[in-house]
Symmetry: C2
Subunit: 622 residues, 2 copies
């Protein structure tokens, strides 16, 4: 029997095999915290056509059942099916482009001349076996030997509990694992430990969660997984999440949501590569300050209240069991350090991924995620600020928005005469939505071809059926399909212009504060989920990026995960991250009166003040 998806993809399914299992066998991973028992209710799919036997509807409402929604783990094909998987049920695991792109990270690590030194250090120890004359206790014997090599550790009960048996099993010749940061003994392993060991690097974005499974012996990225941050159901941006965290069980709910997302990604990745979760021995998380607080269950309320104080910027290294991440119980969890309430570990990661803090040239770093954070400076100084851009470039709050993964429209060209679009789709299959770079292209092309005006308003009376009245007012049809059109609505466009205006206003104000003009910026690093696909020319025309020579722009992709990867593998990189965090000066834009002026001026395409966009002015012929 066959299952067909809206994008045309077809997989086979056997009798007695649940949809969940069949999808997994075909590398289509669904969120399922309960592991396919029908209890978590997350693996919802919509059956569009065909005969299906449903064992259990779980908590699905009658309305949902009527719409053809079933739980994939409780449903079995009785013939050929046509099935649609909602975005939020889908985990992206094993994205080949992402995996291949991750290869560059090891080169980056090497460029720092950093050795591989994960959070758990190892030292080979050989002890003289005890005798009647040398009858000190096992622990004193170990301490005596470590004293000789200048290692003073603390010994948690879990370590001591199994010590006596292990010392004898390995005949007093073993590998000692310890955590250098806390100088804490972790475990005793065989002398020639050939065991594979893995680590997890996590980017906790406000909108998306990305997980890299890394082989700690050679730095290889074994696999990449990503999903939406399911905190989304409690609000799109950090502010609404902070508000939610202060209400009732809000904080534990938010913590659990993101921890479950990470666990949900770890499970299929480890299964796919036949790795036991206990072989994952350390983890690094990189996220903005609020995300890092929520991950640890720390009250983020004071981040939002003047004078905007986080509980911590530099987090102690705690344990997997403190976090709820289901890997080796006592695995150390490192949080990439934050700078201030609105500039977090993701930005520190970005700086070490760009190396701007090691060079003489003045660089501007822009991370265009759910928040827009910017850094300016060089090896001597770093200034940073945040501007609330919203989640739209990651697909949030945009009708057909999605992340930059397979099926996303990543670029759009519109014929100036016919107003017909030409699209490019990631993975080259059927398009299922539009990602950040596609949105930027679309807005700019619509502007250049006159579909929208300088304020972003769709012009109603053009000679094209691509513009039509939709549920949310006027919309432009980017891709036409029977019943599943991909559109950009007037509301989408307004959201996108607000987002780009917030980013540009931030850059503009920060430059003014440090007394720099745009032409003094020798390099612009652009980070964010869409980074590698963006058309810089169009982003400048739109007024999101400053109008400076195009060759100065460099796209960095997801630098938050890059920083997490670097810190996962190297002690030197963790120290580097801490140095960067402490050298950055944070500027609170929201308390500057002039921010709102800058923002309002940027609400045009490209800007109210065309003098700031000389090259665009020329293109537009104005």
């Amino acid at each position: 029997m066959k299952v067909t998806f809206p994008d045309g993809k077809v997989i086979d399914i056997a009798e007695g095999e649940s949809l969940y299992e069949a999808f997994k066998r075909n590398n289509i991973y669904l969120t399922a915290s309960c592991g396919g028992k029908g209890t978590c209710g997350k693996c919802r799919v919509k059956v569009l056509d065909g005969e299906i036997r449903v064992e259990n509807y779980g908590k699905l409402s009658q309305t949902e059942r009527d719409e053809g929604i079933v739980l994939a783990c409780q449903s079995y094909a009785e013939g050929d099916l046509s099935v649609e998987i909602p975005m939020e049920a889908l985990l992206t695991v094993g994205d080949k482009i992402a995996v291949s792109r991750s290869r560059d990270l090891f080169e980056l690590l090497k460029s720092y001349k950093a050795e591989i030194s994960p959070l758990i250090s190892r030292v080979r120890v050989q002890l003289p076996p005890p005798t009647l004359d040398d009858n000190i206790s096992d622990l004193e014997r170990l301490k005596r030997a470590l004293d000789e090599i200048g290692l003073t550790l603390s010994y948690p009960k879990e370590f001591v509990s199994t010590m006596a048996d292990k010392l004898r099993r390995y005949n007093w010749d073993f590998t000692l694992c310890y955590q250098k940061d806390s100088m804490e003994a972790i475990s005793i392993e065989p002398p020639e430990a050939e065991d594979s060991r893995y680590g997890i690097a996590v980017d906790i974005g406000t909108t998306t969660v990305v997980v890299y499974l890394v082989d700690l012996s050679d730095g290889r990225v074994v696999d990449v997984g990503s999903t939406y941050n399911s905190q989304m159901r409690y609000g799109d941006d950090v502010i609404t999440r902070i508000v939610h965290a202060t209400e009732g069980k809000g904080l534990p709910d938010l913590r659990k949501a993101v921890v479950t997302d990470i666990n949900d990604l770890i499970v299929p990745m480890t299964e796919k590569h036949s790795i036991r979760p206990s072989e994952i021995e350390s983890i690094v998380v990189s996220g903005n300050t609020t995300m890092t607080h929520l991950f640890w269950g720390l009250n983020p309320a004071y981040i939002r209240e003047e004078p905007y104080i986080p509980t911590a910027n530099l987090f102690p290294v705690w344990k997997a069991y403190d976090s709820g991440i289901k890997i080796r119980r006592d695995a150390p969890v490192y949080s990439v350090p934050c700078v201030a309430s609105y500039v977090g570990g993701d930005i520190v990661s970005g700086v070490i991924a760009t190396k701007m803090h090691t060079k003489e040239e003045i660089a501007l770093f822009m991370d265009i995620g759910t928040n827009g954070e910017i850094v300016i400076g060089n090896r001597d100084w770093l200034m940073t600020a945040a501007c609330s851009a919203g989640p739209c470039f990651e697909g949030g709050g945009i009708k057909n928005g999605m992340r930059a993964t397979n099926g996303a429209i990543e670029s759009v060209k519109i014929d100036r005469e016919t107003l017909e679009p030409e699209i490019k789709v990631i993975g080259e299959g059927q398009p299922v939505g539009i990602c950040g770079s596609g949105m930027i292209d679309a807005i700019t092309e619509m502007f250049l071809s006159g579909i929208i005006d300088q304020k972003g308003r769709i012009v109603a009376d053009l000679n094209t059926d691509r513009i039509r009245e939709g549920e949310d007012g006027l919309e432009y049809v980017v891709y036409r399909d029977s019943g599943r059109d991909i559109v950009l609505t007037q509301v989408d466009i307004e959201n996108l212009i607000r987002a780009k205006a917030a980013i540009y206003a931030g850059v503009s104000l920060l430059l003014k504060e440090v007394g720099f003009s745009l032409d003094m910026i020798e390099r612009v690093y652009i980070a964010g989920g869409f980074g590698n696909y963006i058309d810089v020319e169009k982003a400048v025309i739109m007024g999101m990026l400053p109008d400076i020579p195009r060759e100065r722009f460099q796209f960095m992709g997801n630098t938050s995960i890059a920083g997490a990867y670097l810190c996962l593998l190297s002690e030197q990189m963790r120290q580097e991250a801490e140095q960067v965090a402490s050298m950055m000066t944070y500027m609170e834009l929201s308390v500057k009166g002039s921010y709102m002026d800058e923002f309002m001026s940027a609400m045009f395409l490209p800007h109210t003040d065309m003098e700031q966009f000389p090259m665009v002015k020329e293109i537009l012929g104005k």
Copy 2:
């Protein structure tokens, strides 16, 4: 309605009130891990007479039911009752003599010139509130202030989790609790913390468990509780327990048994004094090496195998949650350090309680518990050894044996003519058994009045009905009661002689090893549960104590709990304990060939070699 006990005590009981509740209201505490739900099956009592309604027999066997055994928490009086409480179901809480005697401990602490400095230290901290200009995170703000007073701590997640709210609640002016040993932050408390805080000192004996509830603000012993170590059901001595620990679930069972005993004592003590378990903020345990290993769930197998190596002698300070003790979750748990496999924290406690390590005079310390441990030395050197004496002086393995608490026969005199005994009972009520000092008296008196010979054999043909044939052969009736006679059997006497021989042989051999004669011993400290009641003259005649001038003997009572008390209250005492543990040299007697000779020679009353007992020789007129 009334409940009458075999010793004549009468209490009232109301309708609808369980026996368990009625007993508790009258300060009779039964073991009940389940808190009176009928599930743990521990509060077994025997109904001798009267009408009783039993709601639930729980796991009691048919044989037990036939014998009149019921669970006190599931049974209700329907009229006047006569009830017997088996020894093992009874917790001793609030023993007035023990509480009053504990007052001396504070004097001991003062004699060390030690300040009260429990495991949790406190420091008042006042932070400048954050502003837009001074906007470092809460954790960095705290660290900055502590840096100024030279305090560098680590910050566990539990501390950081509640920090932000507490700092603001106390308006940046608070008391910081931290653990000096591990330099770990514990909690933030109000600035003028007037909250009562308590600690628990525990002596984990092989046979008995003693718990002191201590007010940490002034060192006052609030209450004292004791019970049998319920590991007893797995074996009487450390060797059988070690063997049990290596079988199947033996180790966790043993750990759970003693932890439950301690929890069972803490519950009634805290209830009685209206203290919340969370107010108990630290705990010190003192026990022999095996007991300390079992308490922490560490495999004790290698203690028993040559070369007799414990996992640890100096234990890290772990947490209440690591141990299963149900007090404040993150309360530090300090284990009084051990010396070797058979000389443990109880003996280190003993040395610091006697102060023998601070004086010039050569002293001998003897702890006569389930093991007999001995220490010889002064402020310059300390030698120690162990001899397996068995549990009989604590009541174990003796037909009517019991601990030295209310109802125990503590002294015995036998009329040389009539062979009739005259007894003294602790608490002065009806006797219910005989404790260690009573046994020593009885043996010696029986010996002096010719009831037993030099080998301890009961002489059958004397003109007295006190000697009779019992279930276990000949026996002497120490106390006569209708159906509940208290006797010493031939088997009891043999066990006692074996025990005293083991102790004397140990002393004898250790003295030989250090090249000392008995007359060089300027002081003998006797410790053990019976310590305060013992008749030294009789113990010498019996051949348990060496025959040296009587004024050199000093009785110390339970020095293990004394050491735990000292360490609970003072950092200086913890350091003292660690210094004593490291300065003691352990001698393994069991590998000395001459030990068995010494033991066999001591199997007489008082000894084969009467030259070692010159004063006794004179008394006996031999």
